[in-house]
Each structure stands twice: as structure tokens, then as C-alpha cells.
């Protein structure tokens, strides 16, 4: 997968441009189509999701915060379900939802709404009509189907909820559990532009993440080291090239499969050229198994598709081989992941088992009728348990999983954490 990243970039630009010309619905549909066919994948998903959500904010009709939250959730869930193997879509949706909540509550304070309005909003919660039922933000997926739960989920991480005055556990929770104003008129207008600004900031963050991660490269890679880079993504490439500008070392590049027959370029030719130009030796390993090479390697580096709450990783398949082998020989495993890939949830069973890809690329169906009966299981994502990872390098610096909770708390609202886009009946 990784080598083809570059190939997607132009189509990404084109796609983003086309969003402006098409209707919102058309844009969403066409993106869903591309996601389902995996023509948009990996890091691009984050960018594209942000673009789409920006369009939702800018162009869909909404008259209050709840409606806006509903629209975002609706669009987000459709995208996420089109690509269940790309949790980053859900992350961006959650980020935007949190952003809206923040802006709305700032508005509320700015507007200096009296307690009268606030209590009115409290009472609004259960009977809030504008968003259609399916758009009600479910704090937990099952909640949408649930009638037996008397209370919603508390909104803050505190043991004092039990004793607090706030009705944390007592009223059904909606997206507006943090009381938000019914933005009207000018207020809608200002909220719209504030949220759009916020989404643009998220886009900037996505765009700058790789460079920020790369700035930690020379701390991690030392002179003379042998680095195993597993299917280097754009993030990893930038990291290695940055390190190469300061140090001499050797990079072993491994990947899950040989280049497709007829590939015009050797795998990672561009990366190798850049590294070689800096005097860094590169070795392409034409091997699936890595146990043979790890003893010679000092560190293993790869990028993650997503980092789960427990510190486990979703990766392009094969990276698990590198991580497992590294553990066997006690070599550090360094994972590069921008913060926006940190998911505020545990991996699902499906994620742990791995996502199945299209087998046709691996088996030539021309080779006879027997092959067609052959059940081909081509896993395209792997799950790496947290115990196999030593360091996570993010755009906010190196992290260990013990600090994830605060990272997640900084980036997601508790209301949105339980909102699982894959299972939600939206």
C-alpha cells in the first residue's frame, strides 16, 4: 500500500478541488465511493474528511448548534462506515464536534445568556425537536437503540459526579449536554465562521504534522545505526530524510510484498535516492520474514494508521511482523503517529483480527479454475498490541502510552468519545 501513497496525492488535490464545484451531497457520495474502493486511504482520509466537514458547516442548512452537530455526525458516520479500516475519519469528526461545542459554549458566555435561557435549554434536552431522531448524537452507539438506560453518560472525568450538583447521571444526554445556546441569526453566522476557522486549523495541523514529527528525528536516530523502516509512509520518509541530513546511518526497508509485476519503479526508489544523496545507505529487503535481519538492526520504525486508547496500533499489515521480531531481540520499536490519529477508544475485535483486503491483487485468476475456489485471505491491516511499542513520536513530541489519557482529553470531548461512527445507527 505504502508505495502507492504518492500516486494518490494528485487525485487527492483533484478531489478536494472538485468538492467546491459539486453539491455537498455529491461530494459526500463521491468520497464514499472512493473510500469504499480504497482510492483514498491512509493519511489522505483525514484531510478529505476535514474538507468535507468544512463543506457541511459552510453549506448545509442549520439554525442551531444541535442541528449542526447532527449534520456533522450524520456526514461523519457515512464516511466512517464507508471505510471502517480508517479510524482517523472518526477522529476528525470527533475533533470537529468538539470544536463546535467549544465555540458554542464560548458564544454562550460571550452572549452572556442569563440563567433563564440556560435552564430553558436544560429542559429542552429531551424534547429538542430540530435534529431528526437518527441525528441525535449517541454517546455510546447502543444508546440510540437503548430505552432501558435511565441516565446518559456523565460528561466529565471525575469521581465527584456521584455527589455533584450537576445532573450528570440524571437526564438523558444529548449533544447539547454542555448547555449550548440556540444560536440564532448573527450568532449562527459567527459560529459558522468560527467553526470553519477551527476546521482550517485542524487541516493545518494535519499538514504540518509530518514536519513536526520529523523534527524529532535526529534525537531518535544516532550515527552509525541500522534502522529498519517497515513500509515507510510519508511520515516515516520525512523523518528518515530529516535524520539523514544530520547523520550517517543505514536504513533497511522492508515491505509486505514484492512490487507488482510491471511496476516501473523499484520500491521506495524516491526515498532511497533522497537518503543516498545524504550518504545514507539503504537496503531493500525482499523478505516477508524479518527475524533474520532484526539482530543487526538497532531500531524499528514505522507509521501507524491509528493509535488506540490502550496504546495498541492499527497498521498496514506486516508491520506487526517487524514489531514482534523487534520484541524478540529487544530492539526498540518507534512508532510515528500524528496526534490526529489517536483514537479515544479501544480496538474492536475486528481491528484486532485484521481487515481483509481484495485478494485479486495477489492471486492471478487467470491461473486456472482451481484458484477461483481457493479462499484467499489477504489481511491489509494488522493490530499491534501496546506491549510491543516502546515510543510514540507525535507532532507534540515523544509520548508513552501513560500520557495518552491527557492527550485524548485535550483533543476530544467526552460526549463524542463514545460516539462510535461504525456502529451508530445514523
Amino acid at each position: 500500500m505504502a508505495p502507492s501513497h504518492a500516486g494518490y496525492a494528485p487525485s487527492l488535490d483533484k478531489l478536494v478541488k472538485s468538492l467546491k464545484g459539486n453539491s455537498l451531497e455529491q461530494s459526500i457520495e463521491s468520497l464514499i465511493f472512493l473510500l469504499k474502493r480504497r482510492q483514498v486511504s491512509g493519511d489522505d482520509c483525514a484531510v478529505v474528511t476535514a474538507h468535507i466537514l468544512l463543506q457541511v458547516v459552510a453549506r448545509s442548512k442549520w439554525s442551531d448548534v444541535d442541528q449542526l452537530l447532527g449534520r456533522i455526525q450524520n456526514a461523519g458516520a457515512r464516511l466512517a462506515r464507508a471505510a471502517p479500516h480508517e479510524p482517523v475519519i472518526g477522529n476528525i469528526v470527533r475533533r470537529v464536534l468538539g470544536l463546535i461545542r467549544d465555540e458554542a459554549s464560548e458564544d454562550r458566555n460571550a452572549d452572556d445568556l442569563g440563567s433563564e435561557t440556560a435552564s430553558e435549554i436544560q429542559s429542552l434536552a429531551p424534547s429538542n425537536p430540530p435534529p431528526a431522531q437518527p441525528q441525535r448524537p449517541p454517546p455510546v452507539p447502543i444508546l440510540t437503540r437503548s430505552t432501558t438506560i435511565s441516565g446518559g453518560l456523565p460528561v466529565s472525568k471525575s469521581m465527584f459526579n456521584l455527589l455533584s450538583v450537576a445532573s450528570a447521571g440524571d437526564s438523558p444526554m444529548t449533544g447539547a449536554s454542555t448547555p449550548v445556546s440556540q444560536a440564532q441569526g448573527a450568532s449562527v453566522h459567527s459560529l459558522r465562521s468560527e467553526v470553519i476557522d477551527g476546521i482550517e486549523e485542524i487541516m493545518d495541523e494535519i499538514q504540518q504534522a509530518d514536519d513536526q514529527i520529523a523534527s524529532f528525528a535526529d534525537i531518535q536516530i544516532h550515527p552509525g545505526e541500522f534502522i529498519l523502516a517497515y513500509q515507510p509512509t510519508k511520515t516515516v520518509e520525512r523523518f528518515l530524510v530529516k535524520a539523514a541530513s544530520k547523520r550517517k546511518f543505514t536504513v533497511l526497508i522492508a515491505s509486505i510484498a514484492p512490487p507488482q509485476p510491471g511496476a516501473t519503479e523499484a520500491p521506495y526508489a524516491a526515498l532511497r535516492k533522497k537518503l543516498n544523496a545524504h550518504g545514507v545507505t539503504t537496503i531493500n529487503l525482499a523478505s516477508n520474514g524479518l527475524m533474520a535481519y532484526i539482530p543487526r538492526v538497532n531500531k524499528v520504525i514505522f507509521g501507524a494508521k491509528a493509535v488506540y486508547q490502550n496504546g495498541g496500533l492499527l497498521v498496514d499489515s506486516g508491520a506487526c511482523i517487524a514489531a514482534e521480531a523487534a520484541r524478540e531481540f529487544l530492539k526498540p520499536v518507534i512508532v510515528l503517529s500524528p496526534i490526529y490519529k489517536f483514537c479515544p477508544e479501544d480496538p474492536s475485535d475486528e481491528a484486532v483480527i485484521g481487515e481483509l483486503g481484495n485478494p485479486s491483487t495477489f492471486v492471478s485468476y487467470a491461473s486456472g479454475p482451481q484458484v477461483e475456489e481457493l479462499e484467499v485471505e489477504n489481511t491489509v491491516t494488522d493490530y499491534i498490541p501496546p506491549a510491543l511499542v516502546d515510543v510514540y513520536i507525535t507532532n507534540l513530541g515523544p509520548q508513552t502510552r501513560h500520557h495518552f489519557a491527557s492527550i485524548l482529553a485535550d483533543h476530544y470531548k467526552v460526549e463524542d468519545i463514545g460516539y462510535s461512527l461504525h456502529d451508530g445507527e445514523v
Partner: protein, 450 residues
Amino acid sequence: MAAETNAAPTGTPTTATPAAAATPAKPQAPAAAGEEPKLTPAQLKAKAKAEKAARRAQVKDARTAAATVPAPQQAGPDAKGPKGKGKPDGQPGQNKGPRPSMSGPRPIIEKDPRSTIPDLFSHVPMAKRVPLSQAHKDVHPAVLAAGQQMAAFNIKDSIARLEATLLAFAKVIEEYETPKGNSLSRHLIPHVLNPQIEYLTECRPMCFAMGNAIRLLKARINHIDINAPEKEAKEELLEWIGILINERIKLAEFVIARNAAEVIKDGATVVTYGRHRLVEKTVLKAKESGKSFNVTVIDDPFEGGGQELAKTLMEAGIPVLYSPNLGGLRPKVAAASNVFIGGEAIFANGSLNAASGTADVAMAAQRTGVEVIVLCETINFDRERVSVDSLTYNEIDPERSTTESFRLLFDNTQDNYIAGVVTEFESGGGNSPAQAILALLRKQEDPLIA
């Protein structure tokens, strides 16, 4: 694997100690050649005995040394880097003598493919195609053909290579005539067999089975009475080769497949990696006996043999799940009842030398609580060398190692990842831990006498 280029078992210990002088028959130096006839038969016999005693002592030494001092063995491959030095009983300098014509073109052939090999792997040997015109004039046509096929990896499995070697050597022996004034047991090895072995090694580093068989063959030849008539001696040798092929190859394969098939239970899911002859035979055997089970074939996409295996099994009516690569290895292995792996060789420390990627599969299996069963003939067991990593005895894949990529053919799987090894030994159940089999092998025969 480099050291086994040295026709290892005999090679390493003998060259490693001064007692190597006990093998004076080998030197091709004129002086040595002239010395030989002067010895009386009785002297020779005495000498042979002394030699044998010395070698036994060395073997014992090596056994104990092997565990603690891997250094000399590693030195073998390291030193070997530039070219096939340390041939069977290695006198590289003298070897050059007889064929000065080759030293010219040789570096060119060698340098070309090896020049792209990264420095950190430069000690690992690699097969290479030796143009027929450059082969030693003494190399027998049958050996030439076998060597070419090995270099081209048309014959690549250790046992297939062993069989090809033995059959070719049988031809060599058949057509061998002892020169006047020589005896077969004194002349055959240094003047006829060694150039053959050297050539084969040059084509592709020798596998452990070949090393073992050649060691046995040499011991056999040394054992022949110096006064025995040539015809009788040749017949004895040919018969011995026939028995070796029958027992250690044909019968072994049958017994292993039968015993391993018994491990497969109805409803089981068997995982295997790549394609190995013994695993294929085993699975087909289990199917023949009426069991119904699934096989998950995990392939090495750089090799692709698994796809062939999957097809074969499908045709036999076995439901096959085919995984084109190691992606999702953990869950796939976790779902299995057993993992079956074919072995290329097993070292004295019980570690397994097998197709590259095997170690990753075995580790995943062990970590998910699935037993790994290795299928391997005892002729592939090396009782003297130990391997703790994959870079001590290995081979570079000549086909896939280019300027663009690099690949080792094998990797090393520690014995703690292996639940049992199925060999042709029947006593005590075929499937015992490698160490138990090594112990059996040690008891079973003196390593020098077949």
C-alpha cells in the same frame, strides 16, 4: 551456512587443529603425492587407524567446544567471504595450482553479483552460476549437470540436492578407475571426489544434508581395505549409496509423512508456511486416511511456493485458506490447531534452519499458544554446529539480491519455539523435541562410521 561449504563435519575440526596432519592423503602438492606410494599397506592401515582415532577425538572435542566456542565456526563463513575458500579439506592455495587459468575470469564472475551485497551481509555465501567452460576439467559430467541445476535453483530443497549429489557421485564411482600404484581408498577422495565437491560448493554452498552424506561417504571410503579389489570396493560403495538414498531419503520421507499425518485430527486447522515437500506429503497422507481438516497456507510473496501448494491441496479436496503474505499472521496462526514447518536443517542446539520467514511464523505461533511441529529427516541434523542467529549459517538469494533488493534464503528459529520435530525415527514417537533426537543421533552411530 557458509561453513558447511567446507564439507563441514570433517572439514571444520580437521582444519581447525594441528592434528589435521593426520589427513595427509588430501594434499595435492606433489610432495605429498609422492609420499603416498612409499607406505606399505600395513603402515597405511596403522596410519588410517591413528587418523580415525585422532578424528574421533576431535569430533568429541568439537562437540564440547561447539557449545561454548562458536568462534571457529563463525570464522569459517567470515573467512569464506571472498570466495569458496576452505573447500572440503581446504587448501585454497594449492587448489589454485591446478587451474591457474581460472583465476583470471573468476574475480569478474564473483565480483559482479556480490558487489551489490551490503557490507553487513558480506560474510554470507551465495550460489553462483559457474560457466561450464570454467569448471574444473576433472568435474564429472553428471556432477556438472547437478551443479548447474543447483546453481539455477532447479534443484533447491536440501534433500533433492542430496539425492542429486549422491546419484552423481554414484556415476563418478561407477566410472572411476584407480590409477596404477594407487588404492581406491587412498586415491578416490583427494583426486576424484574432492574436485567434484569443490565444484558443487562453488555452484551453491553445500547444504547440511550434503555435508553429512559426504562425510559419511568419505568415512566409508576410508574404511575400505586398502587391498580390496577395485570392483568389490566400487560395488560396496554403490550399494552403500543406494541404501543411503533408500533409508535416509525415500523411507524417511514416507515415515515422516505417515507419523506427522497422525498428528492431524479430524476438524483440525493446519497452518503451514510456504511450500515444503514433507508438509505437502503429510497433509495429503492425512487426507488419504479419510480425515477432514482445513489447511491455511501462508505464503511468502517473494517466493510464491505456497500458491502451488494451495492448488495441489485443493485438487486433493482439502479446504484451503490461502494467505498471500504474513499480514494478519497473529490471528491466522492463533486460529490453528498446529503449525507444520518443513526444515532445511537442525543444529546441535536444536535451532531450525528453514525458509526465510519461518522464524516469524513460529514465533507468532508460540506467542499465541499454538504448537509448531517441524518435519525434518535426520540426515539434515548437524550435530556439531550451533546457530543462534540467522546470519551465522545462511545463504544469500542470488536471484532476488540485486542493486534494488536483498534477501536471505533462510532464517534461524530458536528451539523454544518448536514443540517437536518429526523425523524418520520411530522409537519414542517420531515427534520429540529436537534435543531428544540429537541425543538419539549421538547414540545411534559413530559420526565417522556409517
